[in-house]
């Protein structure tokens, strides 16, 4: 209230210059002009006097003991750490995923896709198709075993087939010898 009265007492067109004068921020000519005005204007002089009286205690820095600053630093660091932990809990959880699983899974997925497209020749059904459960994996994976079961029907009649083959061979041999004999005679 008193402060407002002081402002009212100062000349309106000098108010700004008086504040700059107080802080020593106006140049020489300005400063001389203000000093000249102050020597004649009681209201403006009172204004500057009050500024001198009121402002220094307001601007004065409160000196805190060293212990306060030590505590302040510790508390600030602790609070920042707590906030960081709260914000990044999922990052800690996902760190292994970010580290090596992403490239590994990416590579595997890419390889499976490429192999599927290459070997399946674009026909994904043949890639997805798994061997029947009726035949164990160890037989399917072993080409020798697979061939055995593929030709099992034939193996059961192998003797007969060989006999037929032998008979045919004999017939062929007989025919050939007759032809040779005929040619030789001719």
């Amino acid at each position: 209230m008193k402060h407002a009265m002081l402002l009212d007492n100062a000349c309106k067109n000098y108010e700004e210059d008086l504040v700059l004068y107080y802080y020593g921020e106006n140049n020489g000519a300005e400063r001389r002009r203000v000093e000249q005005h102050l020597s004649t204007c009681h209201g403006c002089k009172s204004f500057v006097d009050d500024l001198n009286r009121v402002l220094p205690p307001m601007a004065e820095q409160q000196k805190m003991p060293q212990a306060f600053w030590d505590n302040y630093y510790r508390e600030t660091v602790a609070k920042l750490e707590e906030q960081n932990e709260r914000k990044n809990w999922w990052r800690t959880w996902l760190t292994p995923v970010r580290g090596w699983m992403v490239p590994a899974f990416g590579t595997v997925a890419g390889t499976v896709l490429v192999v599927g497209l290459l070997f399946g020749k674009g026909d994904l059904s043949s890639f997805v198709e798994r061997p029947s459960r009726k035949v164990p994996q160890e037989i399917i994976a072993d080409s020798n075993q697979l061939e055995f079961f593929r030709t099992m029907d034939m193996l059961e009649s192998l003797d007969k087939l060989e006999q037929q083959d032998g008979t045919k061979s004999e017939l062929q041999n007989t025919h050939s010898s007759r032809v040779r004999l005929y040619k030789g005679v001719a």
């Binding site: 292994p96 580290g99 090596w100 490239p103 590994a104 590579t107 595997v108 390889t111 499976v112 192999v115 070997f119 043949s126 198709e129 798994r130 061997p131 029947s132 009726k134 035949v135 994996q137 037989i139 399917i140 994976a141 080409s143 697979l146 055995f148 079961f149 593929r150 030709t151 099992m152 029907d153 034939m154 193996l155 059961e156 009649s157 192998l158 003797d159 087939l161 060989e162 037929q164 083959d165």
Partner: protein, 90 residues
């Protein structure tokens, strides 16, 4: 961090190889026609029910067949397929 990078490299290099090997093991099977697959399944089921001496006999026949010259193997196979086709047509 270095360990993780090393693990990533190991997985990145070896997992594709393992995956390829695992997929490649089924290639023999996948290359068979549906009819051949059916035949393998039927023969396997039949094989499981055979008495041991028949199994042994079939194994011996298989080993004997394996020792035959390639030409004779093909001839026998061809003969067998012809006879089977003839039987089916009859």
């Amino acid at each position: 961090m270095k360990t993780r990078i090393a693990l990533a490299l190991v997985f990145g290099l070896f997992l594709p190889l393992l995956a390829e090997q695992a997929i490649g093991a089924d290639d023999n099977w996948r290359n068979l026609s549906p009819r051949e697959k059916d035949r393998v399944q039927r023969n396997y089921q039949r094989w499981k029910g055979l008495p041991p001496q028949d199994k042994e006999h079939l194994r011996e026949e298989w080993n004997r067949y394996q020792r035959l010259p390639r030409e004779q193997q093909d001839r026998l196979k061809q003969r067998y397929n012809d006879q089977r086709r003839d039987r089916r047509e009859d």
